[in-house]
Structures are given as C-alpha cells and as structure tokens.
Point group: C2
Chain length 134, copies 2
DNA sequence: AGCCTTATTTAGAATAATTCTAAGTCTTAA
DNA sequence: TTAAGACTTAGAATTATTCTAAATAAGGCT
C-alpha cells in the first residue's frame, strides 16, 4: 500500500527520465491504466514525451518483469505494478479493476484438470461481475 | 467427442446457410480457430461467403451463447463450441489449445479471494505452458 | 572536457484485427 | 405478391499497436 521511494533499477537498462516517469505513474495510482492513460499522466511531468515512447517503456518494463500487462477481452492493454501472482476483477458497475489474490497455499492442480508435471509459464485469471450491496 | 447432428436453432434468428456453416466448422474441428481460420474453412463449402459475414455470424453465435469467444493476450480472437465452463491451455511447443476442465465441485471462492456475494458474470482462465514428457 | 558508440526517443507511417456503412438480396408473414 | 425487415456483402473506416528512420541523449574513454 505504501509507495516505495526506491528508484527502479534494471541491470543493463538506462533509467531514463521517460522510463522512470512511466514506472512512477504506474506505481503511484494502481488503477490499471491503459497506454493512453499513462501517456496523459506522464505528459503532466514530461510534456515532451511521445506516445511511442510510452509504448516502448511499457514494453521494456513488461519484458523485464517490472510490471504486468493485463488484457480484458479485446480492450486496450492495461498495466499493473503488482508483481505478486494475482487475478483481476472488473467491476461492471464502477468500471474499476481490482487485483484478486489467490487463496494461500492453493495450487493450480487443486482446481484445474491439468496433466501432472505440466510446466505453466503463464496464468491469466480475469473476472467480470458485480460486487455485493452495491 | 461425438459430433451432434442436431441442427443449431436459435429462436428469433434465421438459420441461414452462412450461420449454419460457420457453426458447423466450429463444431467439426474443435481447435479454437480464428475468424480467418473459420473463413478459410467455410469457403470450401460456401465459396461466396465474405469475411464480414463470418465476423457477423461469429458475433451472433457468441451473443446467443452458442459458442464462446476466447482471447489469448492480444492475438486474434478464437472461437470454441464447448459451452461447459472451462479454461484454456496454450501449448507452447505445438501451438495447440486445449480445453481445461475445472475440478468437480470447486467454487471460485475456494481459490480466489473475492468478497462474499460477488456476482460473477464472466470468468476467463487461460494458461500457457509446456506439457510433460514432450 | 571532448569524442565515439550505442541506446533511446521521437514523429509519423504502416499494420492488422475488427467494425462500420450502404447497397443488394433473401425470408417471411400478411 | 408484396412489403418489411433480416441478412449478406464489398469495401471503407477505425483503433490499438508496431515499425521506420532520423534525431538526441547517455556513458565510457581518452
Ligand atoms: Mn492491471
Ligand atoms: Mn477457443
Ligand atoms: Zn493487477
Ligand atoms: Zn474451449
């Protein structure tokens, strides 16, 4: 919940102003913004940045596993700085997206029928729905 | 596993040749084809069909819950005639996509931390990985 | 500091999946 | 039969994203 003030550092990468700002925007408000959202926010502090650079920075951050890319259906990709394994819930009333934790100690094979020893490299769980007592 | 010979019938919809053929192609080979794949296959029996019509038919079938639309990351949508609730596994070696059953009697809240009484309208689970002894 | 090499950024063009538009065709129900 | 509406079609448009090529910035080294 608290904002880390550590500077992002990825070995072999130049921590340019643009990369730092894109990353800062993602950690500052964890609302799963799209690239266009990030662009709008970064422009406030870095007016000269281009949308291409925002896409480049996001791609770099994703490649280096500093953030996650999250897709809902065929909408624009969204970006998430939560590196813990988690799913996403899209609230149909408010439009907000919430991180969903997996129950502690649960294994994929506890709820999915997958062959023994399958090596899972990626797992995406996304839900849409309506929260109670809304 | 057996192919049903029942004709698809959706109340209020005209079962045109195009819709029947698109649906037949989807049930005939359950390999999760893209719209372009479906187009190629339907053209064999219905050479005059247009890609727009394939998209229209797929959209109609999805809207009426006769088939499911499945998305992997930002790839082209794929289509699946399996109406049981299931997830998808994308085999990174062969590129094939497999349906994944949920374990019997499992509830979402058994493995996900969601507020009580949340009304889930949609659930997407997709995995990528490598099968054993490949 | 000045110079060189390479990474990064940038604007704009290109791409690709999908959706839209408008016109033609088919179905169905009086 | 005929009119209304449903459906299909070709091609244009849209939109998120990626690509291209030129400009700039960052480091490393002297
Ligand atoms: Mn996210
Ligand atoms: Mn599928
Ligand atoms: Zn998240
Ligand atoms: Zn399926």
């Amino acid at each position: 919940m608290s904002t880390s003030t550590d500077t992002l550092n990825i070995p072999g990468l130049r921590m340019t102003k643009q990369r730092k700002e894109v990353y800062r925007v993602l950690t500052e408000t964890r609302d799963h913004p799209t690239a266009a959202d990030v662009y709008d926010r970064v422009k406030l502090s870095t007016p000269g940045i281009s949308l291409a650079t925002v896409y480049n920075c996001l791609e770099t951050l994703v490649e280096h596993k500093a953030v996650k890319q999250v897709n809902f259906e065929r909408e624009s990709s969204r970006y998430c700085p939560n590196l813990n394994e988690h799913g996403h819930f899209h609230d149909e009333i408010t439009g907000t997206i919430h991180d969903i934790k997996f129950k502690d100690g649960i294994k994929l094979s506890d709820f999915l029928d997958i062959p023994e020893d399958t090596h899972i490299t990626n797992l995406d769980i996304t839900l849409r729905g309506i929260l109670p007592k809304n």
